[in-house]
């Protein structure tokens, strides 16, 4: 019941966001807004594994890029497939990869798990770079349709709406999990895995659920990317900045709750977009670094931590 109310409120917020972007009337707002929304999904997805369960994943870019490359493949083989369907396929593929990675690596703890996820990202990037069908290291060109298929407006507005809906879905899911039996299990694993097992929590199964969910959402966030950038190559799809940003956002916002990643993504994502336009795109990464150092020192529990004990 409370979940339903939350989803309704989230949809209202999404509609208001779209209306506000329309009112501003500048096409760039949709361009920049898309990136911020994409980071809301990525940060929320990362937090399901990293924040709730305590397993720090450095491989965000891999899941994200797998979603994107799924779209490249589908675009070449079944171009008539609507974008949401491609996103679903990308999500399933990334989710399954997440499950497999989890099965292989979740017996590792702490830093060792993180290193394994980073290694997995490198392996995935190498495979894609050597796969000619999706362009290999040359990259792939995707021609973006001119107009939105469902409402009057250009395709970027459509991408914006799709990502807006995906953020509503992922944030609602993250919030529902936080207050559920699953959420308690995740917290128990994060705090003390042996004590969690002794309390009857099936730790391996729960961790696999978390990696699959997290990876799946990341894949869905990456699936529209080829249409957004129109040219996708492995170096940009697997860019480490996705992984770094996605970790920085929940840390700045606060990892313990669903709200933290949302605040972090909106704040940092917007700041980066503004800095990119007004100063330089290189500065945006510097900004992440400085903010991260600042928050680790001054507010280790993130912005949400200021308001809770």
């Amino acid at each position: 019941m409370r979940n339903l109310l939350f989803i309704l409120l989230a949809i209202v917020a999404a509609v208001a966001t779209f209306a506000a972007a329309k009112l501003i009337g500048n096409a760039y707002v949709f361009f920049a807004g898309y990136v911020v929304l994409q980071y809301i999904v990525l940060a929320t997805a990362w937090n399901i594994l990293g924040g709730y369960t305590g397993y720090v994943n450095f491989g965000t870019a891999a899941f994200f890029a797998l979603g994107a490359y799924t779209t490249v493949v589908l675009h070449k083989t079944v171009p008539f497939l609507p974008l949401p369907a491609m996103m679903l396929v990308g999500g399933v593929i990334s989710g399954v990869i997440g499950l497999g990675m989890g099965y292989l690596t979740l017996r590792l703890r702490g830093t060792f798990f993180s290193i394994a996820t980073l290694a997995m990202a490198v392996v995935a990037q190498t495979l894609i770079t050597n796969w000619n069908f999706v362009g290999g290291s040359r990259g792939a060109y995707i021609i973006r349709p001119a107009s939105s298929p469902i409402f009057p407006g250009d395709y970027i507005q459509y991408l914006f709406v799709v990502m807006l809906l995906l953020s509503v879905i992922s944030v609602s899911a993250a919030r529902a999990i936080q207050h559920s039996r699953l959420g308690y299990g995740f917290s128990a694993i994060r705090d003390d895995e042996a004590a969690a097992e002794a309390s009857g929590v099936p730790t391996l199964r729960l961790k696999l659920i978390a990696t699959a969910l997290s990876g799946g959402l990341m894949g869905m966030a990456g699936a529209p990317l080829p249409y957004y950038v129109t040219y996708l190559d492995p170096a940009s799809g697997f860019s480490l900045s996705y992984a770094v940003n996605t970790i920085a956002m929940p840390l700045i916002g606060g990892t313990a709750t669903w709200l933290g990643p949302v605040i972090g993504a909106i704040l940092l994502g917007t700041l980066q977009q503004v800095a990119t336009v007004t100063i330089s795109s290189a500065l945006s990464l510097l900004l992440v670094g400085l903010l991260l150092v600042g928050f680790v020192i001054a507010a280790p529990k993130g912005i949400v931590g200021w308001f809770t004990r």
Binding site: Y184, S187, D191, A194, A195, A196, E197, G200, V201
Partner: protein
Amino acid sequence: MSAPLLQVEGLGKRFGGFVALSDIELEVAEGERLGLIGPNGSGKSTLVNCLCGTLRNDAGQVTFGGHRLDGLPAHRRTRLGIARSFQLPRPFPTLTLAENVRVPILYAADVKLGRIPADPRRRCEELLDMVGLLAKADRKPADLTQIEMRKLELARTMASEPRLLIADEAMAGLSHQEVDDILALLMMLNGQGVTIIMIEHIMRAVLAFSQRLVVLVAGRKIADGDPQDIVRQPDVVAAYLGS
């Protein structure tokens, strides 16, 4: 006589070349209060870990309530009805006391009952009330004193509605009065029908509590029987005091 609740047959555990436990035979009847003693390093905690599934035994078998336990992961054993408290309390630090107790209610108790408890919140309050921590239900474990931490540990083990409770040095480091508190709590749980294995160094507590005493020395069981007889047995005295 019916089959024992817990039956350990020929259990062995080695770490590399070191034999931690060898050929342990043990039976515990339903409702019994068993004391398990032995000098440091005699294998008490290893035995607990083998019973609870934290470690896997290399030899022998463990049967609990008619179920073979060998190979089952720890959470499955908890769901079958074996609960353990840790030697050093291991609460979930980011959760409140109420949430700490809620985890096993959600994950162990409901599975055993085959349903989600009608009112997990009430059961959680009952348990915290039982150990006298209800007033601090919304606090975090970091705010607790040592004895309160032990009581939280007991409340959390009881939240899984166990048939067998293994209290691994639940009283270490506590004062005289505090030991009596925990002892009274364990006696009350036993009165409710929970079988208890107590691992303890405080002889006063073990002797007051146990109906039967088992002594481990260097990974072997050297004595098993009436507590008063056991503590007079020459090899037990020798193991503790030297001969």
